[in-house]
């Protein structure tokens, strides 16, 4: 069964419920994200980008509203089957000594393997394919503690691919990378979305890179809520100016070029 829209966000209010009351972070939010595209989630700090991603991954319960993946409300999935639909990549890098690249990527098979976590021949092939797609086949036997930050994020993306999910969510995966690595990672994600038909949402602060390399843009802030559209319409409608009103940044409504005045 295929769905036109892989992710449906319906009247979603994100935030935290505690004994002292309810703290709303953002919402109500609505968006329909189609498959096979890279979407960049942009917005100022504190807009609730991370909270939104945590809510879509099911890591945090919404205050109200729904997130629908592949036609099913995510609250209906159990933890293991949700892990077969959504994979995550985070800013933080897992610090594990003596763990090889290949073993890290194989962690992505965890939702599929049995009680002991043994890998089948098919699992090994899926891991090898994930390494090929991300171009890190040469790193297979290296310890992850010896890799550069950019290489390490590619390993985590390969882990997400090995998880064979339709959706991959990345929470500021390029935050600590140098400029060429940021571009490299975003280009890789764009290719994966197109060639593997994945639905990828990546939150980032790198406005210019995002505007160049993603297919869709999701804008989020507390004032305007969530705006989702293709890269071209977002640029031409001038939505970016509403979301980034600070003086000092200019976004050209034709080219999408970000310039500092």
């Amino acid at each position: 069964m295929t769905h036109q829209n892989r992710i449906e966000i319906i009247d979603l209010i994100t935030g935290y419920k505690s004994r002292s009351g309810t703290k709303v972070i953002s919402g109500p939010l609505c968006a329909s994200v189609p498959s096979g595209c890279l979407t960049s989630l942009l917005g100022p700090n504190g807009a609730g980008k991370s909270t939104l991603l945590r809510t879509i991954t099911g890591f945090q319960r919404p205050i109200s509203g729904k997130v629908i993946i592949e036609g099913v409300d995510i609250s209906k999935y159990n933890a293991n089957s949700l892990a077969k639909h959504i994979a995550v990549v985070l800013t933080e890098k897992p610090e594990i000594d003596d763990l090889r690249t290949e073993e890290m990527i194989a962690m992505g098979r965890a939702p599929y393997t049995g009680f002991w976590g043994n890998l089948s021949e098919a699992d090994h092939q899926i891991v090898a394919k994930a390494m090929n797609i991300t171009g890190i086949g040469n790193l297979a036997g290296r310890f992850i503690s010896d890799l550069s930050d950019g290489e390490r994020q590619k390993v985590m993306i390969a882990k997400a691919l090995a998880q064979q999910t339709d959706v991959i969510l990345l929470d500021e995966p390029t935050a600590f990378l140098d400029f060429p690595s940021k571009v490299d990672i975003m280009r890789l994600l764009s290719n994966i979305a197109l060639q593997e038909g994945k639905t990828i949402i990546v939150s980032t602060h790198d406005l210019d890179i995002a505007l160049h390399l993603s297919h869709n843009i999701m804008l989020l802030d507390s004032e305007h809520g969530l705006t989702f559209d293709s890269r071209e319409s977002i640029i031409s409608k001038g939505d970016l100016r509403r979301y980034f009103p600070q003086s000092g940044i200019d976004i050209d409504t034709r080219s999408g070029r970000v310039s500092v005045i």
């Binding site: 991954t57 890591f59 995550v88 985070l90 003596d98 763990l99 965890a110 009680f115 002991w116």
Partner: protein, 340 residues
């Protein structure tokens, strides 16, 4: 695969080292018995027709089994705690779990006026000691669990564990102050640690509880592997880290309590052996590290027991020997961590 055969070789070496240590533990003890005589007694298999055969069958063999089980149990506890708290310096004694168990034991030994000497303890007495140790260690675990939801920082949690340890020690000091001389003596002897507290009568309960803990650890290898990635990556793979951690803490609480009740607060084995296992195996795969820690722990337990009887005429306290093995390993781990 060559790495696979290397792993098999390393496991074989661990098993051989255990076998050698077992032989050492049977042939050497605080009483000198000629090797030929030991072999003869073992071959005849008869118990208690001579004092020497009594020593071998009722002292050295149960002591050897105790060293194996306690060494394995404490080591795998250390490994589980290090993974659960994602901190290489976590261990049953550092986190105050051993002290919690000690407090429980102190309440029983000192509170009952020293009627339960470590040497002359009856079945009922040991049950009370085990219950005390279990309640003590699980209470500390509960406190750590509570703090772990507030304290995101693993270092702060470690310091909390150390503080809990100091607090229980201070209560033990107060108990000692008010207890009888005999009680204090018994408690002090117990506190030095030993592997000779498990008689054949105690063995069924002791070994059953310890083996249950060991089996539980083996059953946890897959979630242990995944929670190494941290709570959010683990959740992304369908594993609730908190739930796994609670299970691990209960298992380590039981293993530590049993070991502490019978052998005293044994230091450093739980903290250092997982690192020895990592050094030998050079992997983060828990499917290898869990059994390697158990085998390594058994081997180190036997080694420490052997070191205790070197002076022949007397037996050294266990906790006088374990730091010799543990401290160099921990210093190595700290120095290695600093280089990053």
């Amino acid at each position: 695969m060559s790495s696979q055969s290397a792993t098999i070789l390393k496991f074989s070496i661990l098993v051989i080292s255990i076998l050698l240590m077992m032989i050492g533990n049977i042939y050497f003890g605080s009483v000198r018995i000629a090797a030929s005589e030991v072999s003869e007694i073992l071959a005849s298999g008869s118990v208690a027709d001579s004092p020497y055969s009594y020593i071998i069958f009722n002292s050295r063999i149960p002591q050897m089994l105790t060293a194996i089980l306690t060494g394995a149990g404490l080591s795998v506890s250390g490994l589980m705690l290090q993974v659960a708290f994602r901190n290489p310096l976590a261990g049953p004694s550092i986190l105050g779990v051993t002290s919690g168990a000690s407090l429980g034991v102190a309440l029983v030994i000192l509170g009952l006026g020293g009627s339960l000497g470590a040497a002359g303890m009856q079945w009922g007495g040991y049950t009370a000691v085990i219950a005390g140790a279990l309640i003590g260690s699980l209470s500390v675990m509960a406190v750590l669990l509570m703090f772990s939801t507030w304290l995101r920082n693993a270092l702060l949690l470690l310091i909390t564990g150390i503080m809990v340890g100091y607090l229980t020690s201070s209560i033990i000091t107060l108990l000692n102050f008010t207890a009888t001389t005999e009680g204090v003596h018994n408690y002090t002897m117990w506190g030095m640690g030993n592997f000779n507290g498990v008689s054949w009568n105690d063995m069924p309960l002791f070994s059953t509880l310890t083996i249950l803990g060991l089996v539980f650890a083996i059953l946890m290898v897959k979630p242990l592997n995944i929670i190494q990635l941290g709570p959010r990556y683990a959740a992304g793979l369908g594993i609730d880290m908190k739930r796994v951690r609670n299970k691990l803490l209960i298992a380590t609480g039981i293993l530590t309590a049993v070991a502490t009740a019978y052998c005293g607060p044994v230091s450093f084995i739980g903290l250092s052996v997982p690192h020895i296992a990592r050094m030998i195996m050079r992997t983060a795969n828990q499917r290898i590290l869990v059994p390697a820690s158990m085998l390594g722990g058994a081997s180190v337990g036997l080694l420490c027991n052997l070191l205790c009887v070197i002076p022949q005429s007397t037996t050294l306290p266990l906790n006088g020997v374990t730091p010799l093995v543990g401290v160099p390993v921990i210093i190595y781990v700290i120095l290695k961590g600093r280089r990053k």
